[in-house]
């Protein structure tokens, strides 16, 4: 096994382009588990830990977007300016594993692995994030919805690196909530991110761990926008709140597995989405 440790984005892109089949490693919190279980036997590895350019974030000049480097550790998203601009991302980041894992794990890793249980992914989905992919000679942007193709499958082409994710700064409310079987360090058995853009009067609801990939509840979003005025804070009537959760659950596609049951997961996303909608209008 050869391990390349490029020290700059330029070198990393060159390495990835030169060896398109190389395994990319960022924090290693997914990959090393797979290696330990012998599920994956990489021969060539490109480690991005030393690429400082992708371990940062910038707010665009127009103050409309945040561009987050794919290697920025979750630890850096929990507090400070990022947490103020993207509270749902901060909340999701805080639920990732243990402090050690949060010091290593990143959005790039979540996107690269593309597990439906990736904690940051519902936030990227609800906020309609755009993913920036580069090779030594090309650069393209792709909607996160198009990027996430299926269970642990994404639209990254061989030789491309996930360089950053662009998330909008919205005027409104956003929150994230997660259900696990213990009170810390737990893989979600259901998660939900809810974003209300008060300027546009729109809502985004994205679910984790209840389908092959992150599920965006478009029908429910449109339905709710017709029921209430999302531009203003308003108390949602109990019958609407109930129907909202029911509709969210209906859009989920969970399965039974050793972590939970499909029935519970449907119940959990219904409950979480109702709670988040309530919080959006009371906090």
């Amino acid at each position: 096994m050869t391990v390349l440790i490029p020290q700059s984005l330029h070198d990393a892109l060159a390495a990835a382009t030169a060896n398109p089949d190389a395994q990319i490693i960022q924090g290693g919190t997914d990959l090393m588990v797979e290696v330990n279980f012998n599920h994956r036997k990489p021969t060539d590895v490109i480690a991005l830990r030393r690429v400082d350019e992708i371990r940062n974030y910038v707010v665009t000049a127009d103050k409309k977007n945040v561009v987050i480097g794919s290697g920025l550790p979750y630890r850096e998203m929990e507090h400070g300016e990022l947490a103020q601009l993207l509270p749902a991302l901060a909340q999701a980041a805080r639920t990732v594993g243990s402090p050690q894992i949060r010091a290593a794990g990143s959005i790039g890793g979540n996107l690269g692995t593309c597990s439906p249980a990736g904690d940051a992914l519902p936030v990227l989905s609800a906020l309609d994030a755009v993913i920036n992919l580069q090779t030594a000679t090309t650069s393209r942007e792709i909607s996160v919805h198009d990027f996430m193709v299926g269970v642990k499958r994404n639209a990254r082409q061989p030789g491309e690196l996930i360089v950053s994710a662009t998330l909008p700064i919205i005027n409104g409310w956003q929150g994230y909530a997660k259900v696990g079987v213990r009170n810390a360090m737990v893989i979600s058995i259901a998660s939900c991110c809810l974003v209300i853009d008060r300027e546009k009067g729109s809502i985004g609801v994205a679910l984790g761990s209840v389908g092959p990939t992150i599920i965006r509840c478009r029908e429910t979003e449109q339905w709710l926008a017709m029921q209430i005025d999302l531009k203003n804070i308003s108390i949602v009537a109990p019958n609407l709140l109930k129907e909202f959760g029911d509709r969210v659950a209906k859009e989920s596609k969970p399965i039974d597995d050793h972590r939970s049951t499909a029935a519970y997961r449907r119940h959990a996303v219904a409950t979480l989405s109702r709670r988040l909608l309530t919080r959006a209008n009371t906090q």
């Binding site: 588990v33 330990n36 279980f37 012998n38 909340q91 805080r94 639920t95 929150g175 994230y176 909530a177 997660k178 259900v179 696990g180 079987v181 213990r182 009170n183 810390a184 360090m185 737990v186 893989i187 979600s188 058995i189 998660s191 597995d257 050793h258 972590r259 939970s260 049951t261 029935a263 519970y264 119940h267 959990a268 409950t271 979480l272 709670r275 919080r279």
Partner: protein
């Protein structure tokens, strides 16, 4: 977080919170665990395991594996020179499966190679042709006479009934239910590992193993290798937790065989996944139970049918079952009983010893019943338990009279007196609320519940087994040297043994010899027995040395040795002015004494389950306070209050450690820890999916230690390792029932059990 009594004793004698000598090394990563062992020119060993729960082996082809560079040896059943099977009680488990595999993970072959990766490739290259059979994974089905016999020994490990008193009595109040418990793993952190170094010429082997009982390992390894006992010399390797999972042989025989075959040192160690396959687990159980009581709540009769799924091989199933049936009455008076217990063979993973050993299952059932009984009689959980609380002198359903100190009422009352936690604040921090950083719940989603559990647990081995312990004490120039084969698995004997020597002999410097088979057996570090048994042996050896020291001083100074006592660090004449330091008194002499401690004999149970089968008993009460998000079925245990019958506290901080650790383990069983099985296959053999409580799941523990010294116990102290994990599980379950109003007849309680 705990409240402990601080003791200010200036020497690390009995009663002081002496610190573990291995503590700093363990928390700083310097402690050498068995997995850190290394020898020059060693090879690595690895095990090939069955992927099927039940299959016939048609053929094994090793040729491709042998062609891999670096592979030095591959062994299968035909390479076992001695006994082909092993086992703690009945020897039914093959060293390697030869014709039939009976569970997923059963060893089929082992390889020795120059590198773990070479081993992995060699295992992948071994071609085993299986004829897959339909596994029998339901214990009730396995028991039926028409069901396929999984093993020549049959599908029933043991049936035991208890028949006593009036078999027809019907109470004014009758409550009944069926309770179930899932399969819990011991989940020790230090994985299985051993190093075997062959003697030149293959005449014997030197082993370093993380185990619970050196001499039992030695006996079983020697039989399989067809070597005399003394040719298997075992030294304890660093152990990182055991909880029962190291009582059975895992990799010991494989490792020794490979060493003898290759004439090279062999290192074997399991990873976490293999560890789940490589050791026994807690028995899943199904218990039907019916209580008859008077209208005022006095228990009159118990009926129960208990089925323990022992998995593919016997291990300690027969003994676990006996603990289950003999403890089903709980710490309560009961004169009439009709109990049937079955330990059954299935194609599930083998089950054996785990902290609580059969009593955990029984306690979950009887404590759940006590709450039902309380409701039926219009009493509180505390009242129903006080009304029925057992006392010293009561006769158990086995006919055995409880001679142990039995402060059941005090355990309950002192637990009840512990202050309840403050209500959940409306503005509580997320980490204090169910779901933690997941922001799952807000305070208004939470309902608080309170529940009780009280237990009785036998100490030491039962049913006529003489599990003695041996210790040697040497005194020279004021320094004591102790030797014993007592395995340190984390329980703290390494700190207790020197405390005993300091108290008895007035010395400060105590050296512990390597723990190995160069002295007699200490028995297993299990059954809450080492403080009592090995503590008794060390105490006995030290007392013999003290007597010799007094004789020496008496002769030299012309004083009757009977007048001499140890006072602090001096030898003192009780009736005169003579005083000499122990250091001075022992200078130039060498005193060497060995002592075996035996507990009093016990009896087998007869066909009606009657007999004095247990040595002694310990009691404990737990009160659990939980917060439940009822809508999502999520639980956070807020506080466990406990009063435990410990006999005498020998080391407060160590005792508290046992109590807190046991509570965490019992909490795990209540709400999250379960090996999920699907037709005999484990679905979650990793710490990603087998969830253990984290620091955020651990409750506040407020512990009261009830000190009523046990006359039978050499140091007055009862075993304290198991009781903390037994009744805490039903206490938490009861608290969740209290919060939700649900029946919840099964643990672990899953979110969907609460909210769907």
């Amino acid at each position: 977080m705990s409240n402990a009594t601080k003791t200010s004793i200036h020497r690390d004698v009995l009663g002081a919170s002496a610190l573990r000598p291995d503590g700093a090394a363990k928390v700083s990563g310097k402690f050498e665990f068995s997995s850190d062992l290394h020898a020059e020119h060693m090879l690595w060993g690895a095990t090939l395991r069955s992927p099927h729960p039940f299959a016939r082996i048609i053929s094994i082809d090793l040729s491709a594996a042998y062609k891999i560079d670096g592979v030095e040896a591959i062994i299968t059943a035909q390479d076992v020179p001695g006994k082909k099977t092993y086992g703690l009680i009945s020897s039914d488990q093959p060293v390697f499966a030869s014709e039939i595999v009976r569970y997923v993970g059963e060893p089929v072959a082992a390889v020795a190679a120059d590198h773990p990766e070479t081993c992995r490739r060699a295992l992948a290259a071994i071609k085993v042709n299986y004829e897959v059979l339909t596994p029998i994974t339901d214990a009730e089905l396995a028991m039926l006479p028409s069901t396929t016999q999984i093993h020549p020994d049959g599908n029933l490990f043991r049936h035991q009934r208890i028949i006593t008193g009036d078999q027809n009595l019907q109470g004014e109040i009758i409550v009944e239910a069926t309770y179930e418990m899932g399969m819990q793993d011991q989940a020790f952190l230090g994985l299985e590992a051993a190093l075997a170094i062959p003697d030149s010429g293959g005449a014997g082997v030197e082993m370093f193993v993380a185990t619970q009982w050196l001499h039992e390992d030695q006996k079983q390894i020697a039989a399989c290798l067809d070597l005399p006992l003394e040719k298997i010399r075992i030294t304890l390797g660093g152990v990182g937790g055991a909880f029962g999972a190291r009582e059975d042989i895992s990799l010991q025989v494989h490792c020794a065989l490979l060493a003898l075959r290759t004439s090279r040192p062999i290192k074997m160690q399991y990873g976490r996944e293999e560890s789940f396959y490589g050791h026994v687990h807690r028995h899943p159980a199904k218990i039907w139970i019916r209580h008859h009581a008077t209208r005022t709540g006095v228990i009159q009769r118990i009926e129960s049918r208990m089925v323990f799924d022992g998995g593919a091989y016997a291990s300690t199933s027969a003994a676990v079952l006996i603990n289950g049936v003999t403890h089903i009455q709980g710490p309560y008076k009961c004169l009439n009983a009709t109990v049937d217990g079955y330990a059954v063979r299935t194609n599930n993973p083998p089950c054996g010893a785990m902290r609580g050993f059969g009593v955990v299952q029984a306690c979950y059932a009887h404590e759940s019943q006590m709450d039902k009984l309380a409701v039926a009689c219009g009493l509180s959980p505390v009242e129903i338990r006080l009304i029925n609380a057992m006392v010293t002198g009561d006769k158990l359903i086995t006919g055995q009279v409880v001679e142990s100190v039995a402060p059941v009422e005090r355990c309950i009352r002192e637990t009840d007196a512990i202050e309840m936690p403050a209500p959940l604040a409306r503005n509580a921090n997320a980490l204090e609320i169910v779901g933690g950083s997941g922001l799952t719940s807000l305070p208004h989603n939470i309902v608080r519940g309170v529940g009780w559990g009280v237990s009785i647990k036998n100490l030491m081995y039962s049913e006529s087994f003489d599990d003695f312990a041996t210790a040697r004490c040497q005194l020279q120039n004021g320094v004591v040297n102790l030797k014993f084969a007592t395995v340190e698995v984390g329980q703290g004997f390494v700190v207790l043994a020197p405390q005993i020597a300091r108290s008895v002999l007035g010395v400060d410097e105590v050296i512990i010899d390597p723990v190995d088979t160069r002295i007699g057996s200490a028995g297993s570090t299990s059954a809450s027995r080492q403080t009592w048994m090995s503590g008794g042996a060390v105490d006995g050896a030290c007392r013999l040395v003290r007597q010799r020291l007094f004789e020496h001083v008496g002769t030299k100074h012309n004083i009757d040795p009977l007048r001499l006592v140890i006072e602090d660090t001096d030898v003192v004449d009780m009736l005169g002015d003579f005083r000499i330091s122990v250091i001075e008194a022992s200078t130039g002499v060498f005193i060497d004494e060995t002592f075996e401690h035996h507990h009093r004999p016990t009896e087998e149970l007869d066909e009606n389950g009657q007999g004095n089968c247990h040595v002694a008993f310990a009691f404990v009460a737990h009160r659990a306070v939980v917060d439940v998000d009822v809508e999502l079925g999520l639980v956070k245990v807020i506080q466990i209050a406990t009063a435990q019958d410990v006999g005498r506290v020998l080391n407060p901080i160590a005792a508290l450690g046992q109590i807190e650790g046991g509570i965490a383990q019992g909490l795990g069983l209540a709400v999250m820890e379960e090996i999920v099985l699907d037709n005999g296959k484990m679905r979650n053999p990793s710490f990603t999916d087998y969830l253990l409580p984290t620091a955020l799941d651990a409750p506040q523990v407020i512990a009261v230690m009830i000190e009523e010294p046990e006359p039978q116990a050499p140091l007055g102290a009862k075993g304290i390792g198991e009781p903390p994990c037994i009744s805490v599980t039903p206490a938490i379950a009861a608290a969740i029932r209290n919060a939700t109003g649900r029946d919840l007849p099964r643990v672990p309680i899953r979110p969907q059990d609460i909210c769907l």
